[in-house]
Symmetry: C2
Subunit: 461 residues, 2 copies
Amino acid sequence: MTDIDFFFDPKSIAIIGASDSFRFGYTTTKYLLNSKFKTFPVHLYKTEILGHKAYKNIKDIPESIELAIILVSNEHVLQAVKDCVEKGVKGIIIESAGFAETGEEKYINIQNKIIEIVKESKIRIIGPNCVGLTNFYNEFTSSEVEFNRVLKGGISIIAQSGVLGNIFIDWGSSQKIGFSKAITLGNKIDVDEVEMLDYLNNDPDTKVITLYLEGTTRGNDFKQILKQMTKPILILKNGRSESGSNAVKSHTGSMAGNDKIYDAVIKQNPGIFRVNNFYEMFNIAQVFSTQPLPKGKNVGVITGSGSLGILACDEIERQGLSLAKLNEDTINQIKAAIPNWVSIKGTIDLGPSMMTSLIPSIKAVLTDVNVDSLLYIFSVPQGPLEHLNFSVSPYFRLMKKLSKENNKPCICVCFGSRWCFEYVLKRASQFGIPVIDRIKYAIKAFKMMYEYSQYLERKDN
Amino acid sequence: MTDIDFFFDPKSIAIIGASDSFRFGYTTTKYLLNSKFKTFPVHLYKTEILGHKAYKNIKDIPESIELAIILVSNEHVLQAVKDCVEKGVKGIIIESAGFAETGEEKYINIQNKIIEIVKESKIRIIGPNCVGLTNFYNEFTSSEVEFNRVLKGGISIIAQSGVLGNIFIDWGSSQKIGFSKAITLGNKIDVDEVEMLDYLNNDPDTKVITLYLEGTTRGNDFKQILKQMTKPILILKNGRSESGSNAVKSHTGSMAGNDKIYDAVIKQNPGIFRVNNFYEMFNIAQVFSTQPLPKGKNVGVITGSGSLGILACDEIERQGLSLAKLNEDTINQIKAAIPNWVSIKGTIDLGPSMMTSLIPSIKAVLTDVNVDSLLYIFSVPQGPLEHLNFSVSPYFRLMKKLSKENNKPCICVCFGSRWCFEYVLKRASQFGIPVIDRIKYAIKAFKMMYEYSQYLERKDN
């Protein structure tokens, strides 16, 4: 494994093309200059940037620099890279766009010249055409992540570009999903997903890896590293269609490749799963990173809505899992606590009796040996939830306790207005119970985690 | 067509089992007693409910009653229905649960006795085991809808039970989706989806119908009415799996039936579309009810993120549509307004140049004859959106204007934190542009609307 720690915890930083007005790079400049990270702004004309002395060239900085972040426009990047080599920096993040992805010879040539510099020197480069990376544990970022808003957690991201470097981190944080590292690789002229997978496999803060892939140029190495991984990986591969594949080319200059080959490679590895969209990817990753692995296929379902319970049954069967058949004892325990009109033959459909019936139901289901995981479907209209002193915290407290004692994963799927979702999310997340807005993702999470637990068992034997 | 208008606009109402403490039915009782609808509470013991004189029996009410809402527990429903018949009411909504869906003979028998009463009298019944209906135009509801929060619009709902009678209305309203009628039918001992489809087909406020179906007992009539419909219908059919099909039985006592038959029936009718989940159903319905029908298959894509643009290309191809090939003129117009690194070969990937490039891009794309619809992918991190004076309203104002002038539907798909989504939604909805969080639903909407527009054209010729 190569040492690329300096990308994640740089001892000193130069920002080439530091910005003091609101445009691309401003947020990064402002954040790093005022952070604990020793940072020097570099600017061709300005002598001061946001109150910090600015240098005309990185070579003018009187101290040694470990990491350079390049933000200047594409035509100036090659010179900046040359200066970095002369300065002796260890690594560069080139965020500027406008290289091979444009399809124009002039810019392809610039990119190729930078590749030659990488080959001739020891310098390591991330990018170009990316937003670099974020380390949620030491709070280093070359992107637009604001640490007062995001959450630390067990999920790491490897991606191409901005949307996963900041947009989905914004989204994840508003879903109480916590991250470890977010890495965007852009056109990948040097550091790529193979090296980053290896790095994250050894990162103690990373529990599960999400990989958004537009294509890889190192097919064999990619296959090899997937085999060596000891953490679950969720892969989203784009560019399946012809126009999508063309778009990949003009996005990061990569080749999308034959989708069937990627599919086969992913299926060969039991700990590696293909997902269909970003929401699915992060929702499932969150369950992986916060819940115990289920020991079997049997999903217990407690629902406030019959229709949604039916939808859950359909999804459980589609994914090859089973609706848990409750013990006689469990059924009697629940029956003692519910009105006669409540249906508990398949799913436990509490309807409007939830307030009184939920605690005994959770207890009975999570202690039933025929149940391996719990799906709790929350659907209370906003009116009652607002007007009534309706405390949902005890449900999630009990789920956490029994989930831990019995090693069974729990997910709450919440339906309703955004206000309702926030209400439930705030309380459930205090007890580490993931809240999702799709039954499908919850059931897929149970399925993948069950497969993963079976794989670990086989490996141990 | 039978006259069932009194269910939607009752001249006088009795609430049997009116509730003055916070349990099922309280919200409805409180709302109707204080509404413009003439409402009388009926209660076995109480002489006053929320400041209104209560009657021991519906027969004691000194005025004629058009609609009775029954909320009493299952064992008392039969007597209440008999009283209603004697009183001469036109219709009853039975919300109480605990009948055929329990699978217990005792309760099945009660349901059968009520069915006999329906047959012998002229009385019409909705339910049991439902939350009745809501008319968003005159603000009548037997459910828990709060009219200060919801929006009037062109979408009507026919469903089984609560989750569509209130939960998804809460959700829809927080997405700025407007409704016309929401109808829940429960165990359907009398009024069913066939009659309601007919009713809504003649309702001037209904532009598009969403139907959540667990099963129908009138297969031939159902096929017949689908043929006669003159409005687009989106159908979600549950209970495809064995456990799901069992759950249908214990939810509303219906038979799920053979899923393939439903699928075939739906496919036979060009204006009728099957959807896969509630979110998809309402997001697509909103586009149908607010946007013009596209004349062709060519989708123009303007995106702030390359990755999401690729995802859109994949989805466009999967749905059988085409990524629009822009006119030379359009490309030149956009090129004049964008930096050299922006990619406009397939999707128009503006990246961080959005602020300056978006207005000319929208203008060029929506006036291009090769473009039939516009997908605009919004992905700006929360930080810049918060700190910068970033006004998105002009984009949506322009979209509205050009969409109207050129008869081209527009959808904004927004990614990011919930705060970002709210920010965009608030502004886009002022100009009637739908905001969705999934590219898939947007493309599916364009596809279904294109098919619908072709169907209308064939019909006209």
